[in-house]
C-alpha cells in the first residue's frame, strides 16, 4: 500500500458563526491515481470537504477546525492553499469566477508563472495542457467570448497546467448541457487513466459519472456514511439514502434484481440475464415520424402563442429562427437543447423581456418568468418582505417568513424565487422557468417537479428550459428540442425523451425507449407487463 495522497484524520469543521459542524469526524484516505466521487444531498459537506482538501478551509474561510488533513505529506494547518496549490488543482462550480485573465493563453500561463516556472516551462505547460484538453484552438481567444462549456474547460486547463497530482472538482457539470457534461467526465477519466491524476469529484447527477469512478464517498450531515466501490455505494443508497440512487439502480432494485448497475450497459446486462430485455435492441423510437412534431390542440385558446419568432442581433447571428410554438392552458412543456440553442432567449420573448425582430408573441395573460439564478430576486433581509404570505404559502415556505433569503437551501431559494415571480392574486397564465434545477439535489428537484405539476393541474401553462431529462420527464407532458434557434423536434415527453442518448432519461436509454417509459417506476411497470404477457403466452 502506497502512502495516501490525501488523508483526513478525524476532521471536524464549523464555519464562522455556525454551531452545526459542516464536517464531523471525517476520516478518509485517498490513494494516488484514484477517481473518487463525492455523493450527498446539498448542504451535507461535499464542497466543504473539497475546500478542506486544498487548504481553503480553514485558511480562507476561517471557522473552527479540529483534526488533521494532509496533502502529499503536508499538513494543511501549516501550509496554506498557495503552497498546497503545487499539488492540487481546483475547479469550482461557476466558470465565470475562475477566469481572471483576458485571453485563454494568459489564463493557462498564470498559475505556472506565479509559481516561478521559467518562460520555456510556461510555454510548454500551456501547449501541453491545451492539447490534452482539446482547447488548443482557443488559446488566442478572449475569455469573454467563450461558451459556458469552453469556459469550464479552460478553467480545468488552468487547474491542470501545473500537472497537479490531485484535482478537486465541485459540481463542474452543473452549468453544462448533457453533451458538454459527458465530454468533461470523459476527459477526467482520460486524465485519470493516462496521467494517473487523482480525481475527487463532487456531483449531484451521479448517473453521469458513476461508471467512470473507482470509489464513492457518501456524506450525510457532514459525516462519511458510505465509502466503497460504486456498487457498494448503490447498495447502501438503496437501503439508506434512496434520494442518492441513480435511475438505473432504482429500476433494477424496483424490479427486484441484483446487482445494482453503475450505468446503462450493466443495467441492460442484468435485464438480459433475467430475460427482461431482448438480445438485440429494437430500432430507436426517435426514428418514428410521429415523434417529430407535436400538434397542440387548437380547440382551446392558447395560453401562449409564438408565431415565426426571430431574434436577430444587430451585428451578429440570429438567436431564434422562426420559432412557432403554442402552449395550451394546463400544458407542461420541457424545452431542451444544447447551451446556446436559444432556450433562454425564447423564454425571454415569451415573458416580453425581449421583442422579436420578426414574428409575433401572443399571451393570454401574464407570463411569470423565473430566470436561472434565484439569488438575483432577493433584495430584502427577510423572506416575508420579498413577497406576500399567500405566495409563500403556495410554495410551502410559510414557516420561513423570518429567515434571510440567502440562508435558505438551494431548493428553498428556488421556491422563494418562484413565489416572487408567480406572486399572489392574479394567477399568471404561463409559468416559464429557465434551468431551475442547476446545482439542485434529487430531493429538491422532485419537490419542484411536484410544484410544477400542481400548477399545471390548476390550469397554468408551464414551460421549463432544462438540461436534465429526468426532471423534464418528472414535470412535463410535452418536450420541445431546440437547436441553433430552431425547433427541431416537438412531441410528447414519452416520445421525445425516450429516444437518443443525450436528451433521453437513463431509464429510456436502458430500455431502448420501449413503451415510452421514462422514469424507473414507469420502466418497472413496463417490465412487469412484459413478464406477465410472457407468462400468459
Amino acid at each position: 500500500m502506497t502512502a495516501p495522497l490525501l488523508s483526513f484524520d478525524r476532521v471536524t469543521y464549523r464555519y464562522p458563526g455556525v454551531d452545526a459542524p459542516a464536517l464531523s469526524e471525517v476520516t478518509i484516505e485517498i490513494q494516488p491515481g484514484e477517481f473518487c466521487l463525492l455523493a450527498g444531498l446539498s448542504g451535507h459537506g461535499k464542497s466543504t470537504l473539497l475546500r478542506a482538501a486544498c487548504g481553503l478551509v480553514p485558511h480562507f474561510h476561517g471557522g473552527r477546525f479540529a483534526g488533521r488533513v494532509t496533502l502529499a505529506g503536508l499538513d494543511t494547518r501549516e501550509y496554506g492553499p498557495a503552497r498546497l496549490g503545487a499539488f492540487v488543482g481546483v475547479l469550482f462550480q461557476d466558470p465565470e469566477t475562475q477566469l481572471v485573465m483576458s485571453t485563454v493563453r494568459a489564463e493557462l500561463a498564470l498559475a505556472l508563472e506565479s509559481r516561478g516556472h521559467s518562460a520555456a516551462s510556461v510555454a510548454r505547460g500551456v501547449e501541453e495542457v491545451a492539447l490534452a484538453l482539446g482547447i488548443d484552438s482557443l488559446l488566442d481567444r478572449s475569455t469573454h467570448d467563450l461558451s459556458g462549456g469552453e469556459k469550464q474547460r479552460v478553467a480545468l486547463g488552468a487547474a491542470l497546467a501545473g500537472r497537479p497530482a490531485l484535482v478537486l472538482l465541485d459540481e463542474p457539470t452543473s452549468q453544462l448541457d448533457p453533451v458538454a457534461g459527458d465530454e468533461l467526465i470523459g476527459l477526467l477519466r482520460r486524465l485519470n487513466q493516462e496521467w494517473e491524476t487523482t480525481i475527487v469529484l463532487a456531483e449531484h447527477r451521479l448517473e453521469r459519472c458513476l461508471a467512470a469512478c473507482d470509489r464513492v464517498i457518501a456524506l450525510q450531515g457532514g459525516r462519511v456514511r458510505s465509502d466503497g466501490d460504486p456498487q457498494a455505494f448503490l447498495q447502501w443508497a438503496g437501503r439508506q439514502a434512496p434520494a442518492l440512487q441513480t435511475p438505473a439502480a432504482k429500476l433494477i432494485s424496483l424490479a427486484g434484481l441484483h446487482p445494482a448497475p453503475t450505468g446503462v450497459r450493466q443495467a441492460r446486462a442484468t435485464l438480459r440475464a433475467n430475460g427482461l430485455l431482448p438480445e438485440v435492441m429494437p430500432p430507436n423510437p426517435v426514428d418514428r415520424p410521429e415523434a417529430k412534431r407535436h400538434r397542440a390542440a387548437k380547440s382551446t385558446a392558447a395560453a401562449l402563442e409564438m408565431n415565426g419568432v426571430w431574434h436577430e442581433l444587430r451585428r451578429g447571428p440570429a438567436i431564434l429562427r422562426g420559432v412557432t410554438l403554442r402552449l395550451a392552458p394546463g400544458e407542461s412543456v420541457a424545452l431542451m437543447g444544447r447551451n446556446g440553442a436559444g432556450k433562454s432567449t425564447l423564454l425571454r420573448h415569451a415573458a416580453g423581456l425581449l421583442e422579436p425582430t420578426r414574428g409575433r408573441v401572443q399571451r393570454a395573460g401574464r407570463v411569470a418568468l423565473l430566470l436561472q439564478n434565484p439569488g438575483d430576486y432577493f433584495i430584502h433581509e427577510r423572506v416575508a418582505e420579498e413577497t406576500s404570505a399567500e405566495a409563500l404559502a403556495a410554495v410551502g415556505l410559510g414557516e420561513m417568513a423570518e429567515r434571510n433569503p440567502r440562508d435558505l437551501s438551494g431548493g428553498e431559494r428556488q421556491r422563494l424565487a418562484l413565489a416572487i415571480v408567480a406572486g399572489a392574486g392574479e394567477r399568471p397564465a404561463v409559468l416559464a422557468l429557465d434551468e431551475p434545477t442547476r446545482g439542485m439535489d434529487r430531493d429538491a428537484k422532485a419537490e419542484l417537479a411536484r410544484q410544477l405539476r400542481r400548477r399545471a393541474d390548476e390550469g397554468q401553462a408551464v414551460i421549463v428550459a432544462t438540461h436534465d431529462p429526468e426532471f423534464a420527464a418528472a414535470c412535463a407532458t410535452r418536450a420541445v428540442l431546440l437547436a441553433d434557434g430552431r425547433v427541431i423536434a416537438d412531441g410528447t415527453a414519452s416520445e421525445l425523451l425516450a429516444g437518443g442518448w443525450y436528451f433521453a432519461t437513463e431509464t429510456a436509454r436502458i430500455l431502448g425507449g420501449a413503451g415510452g417509459a421514462l422514469l424507473p417506476e414507469q420502466g418497472v411497470e413496463l417490465l412487469r407487463v412484459r413478464t406477465a404477457l410472457e407468462v400468459v403466452a
Partner: protein, 296 residues
C-alpha cells in the same frame, strides 16, 4: 452588455499582431506627438491618422463611437475656456460686468484655443481606446508584473471583472423586471436593490479570491522574461514610433508648427506644416500596409 463595453479581442490586424510592449510604445509615441503639437492642421492630420489606424486595426466603428461619446468631455472644455479666458482680442459677445470676474467678453481666440485643447484631449481619449481595443492587456500587464506582480494582477482582474460585473448587474435588473409589480420603486426600494448588487459583487469577489488563492497568488513570484523573435510588425511599429516622436521633435524645434491663440489667432500654414502633416500620416499608417503573417 458586451456591446456596450470596450475591451480587447484578438483580431487579424497588424497592430494586434504586434507585441504588446511595442504596441504600447507606439501609442505612447502618438501621445507625445499630440502633447507637443498645437497647430490645428497638424492635430487634424493626427486625428485622421488615428481614425484610419483604428480602421486598419478593425476597430474603426468602436473608435468612432468613442469619439461621439467623447463629446461629453470636449464640449465642456470649449465652453469653459470661452467663459474664463480673458486674453483674446476678437470679441463676439459681451455679457457685461460680472463683478469680481470683470468684463464677460467672449472671444474668438478663446473658442479656437478651447477647441485645440479639446481636440488634443479627444485624441488622447482615442489613443487610450485604441490601446484598450488592440493591445493585449494580459501581455502588457505581464510586463508590469515583472515590476509589481500583485498590483498588475489586480489591474488585470479589474479589467476582466468589469464586463462580468456589468453582466451581473444586467441579470439582476432583468430579474427585478420579472416581478409582478416590476422593479422596486422609491428610495427604499432602490437602496435595497443597490445593497443586493453590492452583496452579489462581494460574493463574486470572494469566489475569485478563492480561485486566486489556490492558484498560488499568495506565493507568486516575478513573471519570467519571454524570449520571442521580433516579427516584421514589431519592427514596423517600433520604427513608426521612433519616426512619430522624431517628427514631433523636429516640427517643434524647426518652428514648422507655430501656433498662437492669443492675443490673436496665428496659425501659419507653410510648406513645412503640410510636409509634417503628410509625414505624420505616413509614419502612423505605413505599418498597417503590411498584413503578411497575421492570424486571427
Amino acid at each position: 452588455m458586451k456591446g456596450a463595453l470596450l475591451f480587447y479581442r484578438r483580431m487579424a490586424s497588424p497592430l494586434h499582431a504586434t507585441r504588446a510592449g511595442v504596441g504600447a510604445l507606439w501609442l505612447a509615441a502618438l501621445s507625445v506627438a499630440i502633447i507637443l503639437m498645437y497647430h490645428p492642421l497638424v492635430l487634424l492630420a493626427l486625428l485622421a491618422a488615428v481614425l484610419c489606424a483604428g480602421a486598419g486595426a478593425g476597430v474603426g466603428r468602436l473608435l468612432a463611437r468613442s469619439m461621439r461619446t467623447g463629446a461629453i468631455v470636449w464640449l465642456p472644455i470649449v465652453v469653459v475656456n470661452v467663459l474664463v479666458s480673458r486674453d483674446g482680442l476678437t470679441v463676439f459677445a459681451r455679457l457685461g460686468d460680472l463683478g469680481p470676474f470683470g468684463q464677460g467678453n467672449l472671444t474668438l481666440e478663446a473658442v479656437v484655443f478651447g477647441a485645440v485643447i479639446a481636440l488634443k484631449v479627444m485624441l488622447l481619449i482615442l489613443i487610450t481606446t485604441l490601446g484598450s481595443l488592440a493591445v493585449d492587456p494580459d501581455e502588457t500587464l505581464r510586463i508590469l508584473r515583472r515590476l509589481s506582480f500583485r498590483s498588475a494582477l489586480t489591474a488585470s482582474l479589474a479589467t476582466r471583472m468589469i464586463p462580468v460585473l456589468g453582466a451581473d448587474a444586467q441579470r439582476l435588473a432583468e430579474a427585478q423586471r420579472t416581478r409582478p409589480q416590476g422593479p422596486p420603486r422609491g428610495a427604499r426600494g432602490r437602496v435595497a436593490l443597490l445593497r443586493a448588487v453590492i452583496g452579489g459583487s462581494l460574493d463574486r469577489a470572494m469566489d475569485v479570491a478563492a480561485t486566486l488563492e489556490v492558484r498560488g497568488f499568495a506565493t507568486a513570484r516575478r513573471a519570467p522574461r519571454l524570449a520571442r523573435p521580433w516579427s516584421r510588425h514589431d519592427i514596423a511599429f517600433l520604427a513608426s514610433a521612433i519616426a512619430i516622436v522624431g517628427l514631433a521633435l523636429v516640427g517643434r524645434l524647426a518652428g514648422a508648427v507655430r501656433f498662437d491663440a492669443y492675443p490673436e489667432v496665428h496659425a501659419p500654414i507653410g510648406a513645412g506644416t503640410i510636409v509634417l502633416c503628410v509625414a505624420f500620416l505616413a509614419a502612423v499608417l505605413l505599418p498597417f500596409g503590411d498584413r503578411r503573417g497575421i492570424d486571427g
